[in-house]
């Protein structure tokens, strides 16, 4: 039997502008018309419309149920987006530097989240924090997608800075600021997602969980720095 074709659209469907029941105002009651004829109606300000749907909103959405296929795709899309930032950094040297940076930037996310998140889950389970494996996995993939999206968004600006800065130090500074911002978004996302899960827990559990989040954050920062400084030529890594 042939498996159905895999597509990004299947996992992150394109936006639809269908009107839902909640968008349609309820019909006016018969008594309202009478009241309106007695007192001149004040025009009520229109309620704010919901945000238009978008591919990005879908990518970062919190799902009610875990779908391994969707989470795997989200993780892959996040790493792919992060690779775009790497391509931008590679524009300073060109040629093989494109590849080196495109592989190096997502590598840190892969290591920090791939190694750190399972360890974090084990610690949270040891202190009996009410966090499910599925929630931790989803938080990690959302964090990767968020970091990747921010890095991809900063990629054009990063390309401008690394290409037009004369000194290698200035290019490295620009590259590093972008990496720090992208990494901070990812880290902030995973920690805030998981902290919400332990909000209802007993105070000692919450304290232990906060400690775990702090250690995880420190670990992620150090590991990411280590990987990026080793692999990215623009930061003085492997040439």
């Amino acid at each position: 039997m042939q498996a159905p074709a895999f597509s990004i659209e299947g996992v992150f469907p394109p936006p639809s502008r269908d009107v839902t029941d909640s968008d349609v105002p309820p019909p006016a009651a018969p008594g309202d018309a009478l009241a309106a004829s007695a007192v001149p109606p004040m025009p009520a300000p229109p309620p704010p419309l919901p945000l238009p749907p978008s591919w990005t909103a879908n990518l970062l959405a919190v799902d009610a149920e875990l779908s391994p296929r969707r989470e795997a795709t989200r993780f892959g899309v996040g790493l792919g987006l992060a690779a775009l930032y790497g391509l931008a950094l590679g524009a300073r040297e060109g040629r093989l530097a494109f590849l080196a940076h495109a592989a190096g930037v997502p590598a840190a996310l892969l290591v920090a989240f791939g190694v750190g998140i399972p360890a974090l889950y084990i610690f949270l389970a040891l202190v009996d924090a009410p966090v499910a494996v599925a929630a931790v996995a989803a938080a990690a993939t959302r964090a990767t997608a968020t970091a990747g999206l921010v890095l991809a968004g900063l990629a054009p600006a990063a390309a401008l800075f690394v290409v037009t800065s004369e000194r290698p130090g200035a290019a490295a500074l620009a590259a590093g600021v972008g990496l720090a911002v992208g990494g901070a978004f990812g880290l902030g996302n995973v920690v805030s997602d998981l902290r919400r899960s332990v909000e209802g827990a007993r105070a000692p559990v919450r304290v232990a969980a906060d400690l775990a989040f702090g250690v995880f954050g420190l670990f992620a920062v150090i590991v990411a720095l280590r990987v990026w400084m080793s692999l990215l030529p623009v930061l003085g890594g492997v040439q």
């Binding site: 238009p52 968004g153 800075f161």
Partner: protein
Amino acid sequence: MSAVVLNRLLRAPDEIAAACREDRDVRAIAATSLVALAVGAAVFGGVIGSFRGGVQIAYAALKVPFAMMATLALCVPAFHAIAAGLGRAFPLRVIVALALAAAGRAALVLLAVAPLLWLTFDRGLGYHAAALASALAYAAAGAAAFSVLVRGLGGGEGRVLTAVAFAAVFFAVGGQTSWILRPYLIRPRTWAAASQHAQKIPFLRAYEGSFADSLYKSSRSARDVYDEEGSR
């Protein structure tokens, strides 16, 4: 180009921001803002170039709109990603419309201050005062643009952080883009040297340093600390 949209850009930034956010009239807003941006920035650029005069007027009239448009093109993906990362996953077209509307409003402010700036240049304003006056005009335009961007974010958590992040990205990218398209005003020293050697002022300066280096150097020279050329 719509006079109604131009009027709304100036008088009702709230309304324009809401229209962008709710994906209404974005085509008209974007088209009008783009025209306003091209015209306003070109006129302002021409006035900046009039500090030195001659071909520099045309050069600056080309470079200022280009710098603004390039800055927008480079910033929009970052705005989109940062807003999404902070809980406002707007479609990209909403961010494009919002950024264009903000830039269009800024260009209209530049268009408004251009005659005043031209008059001060004509009255013999010095180089440093001219640079400061131009920077103040940019700051006023930036404030007008920023008000549209902030309104476009709507209410809710993370609004200030998103706005600050937008401003930081815009300042850094705008600074670097403008810096690589120098010169605009032309220092008297550069002009004198070029005249002495019968050289033309180039359309773009040679590749050197970066915007950050330039800020650092300017902050030192403002404290009367001058680094020797070639010491780095």
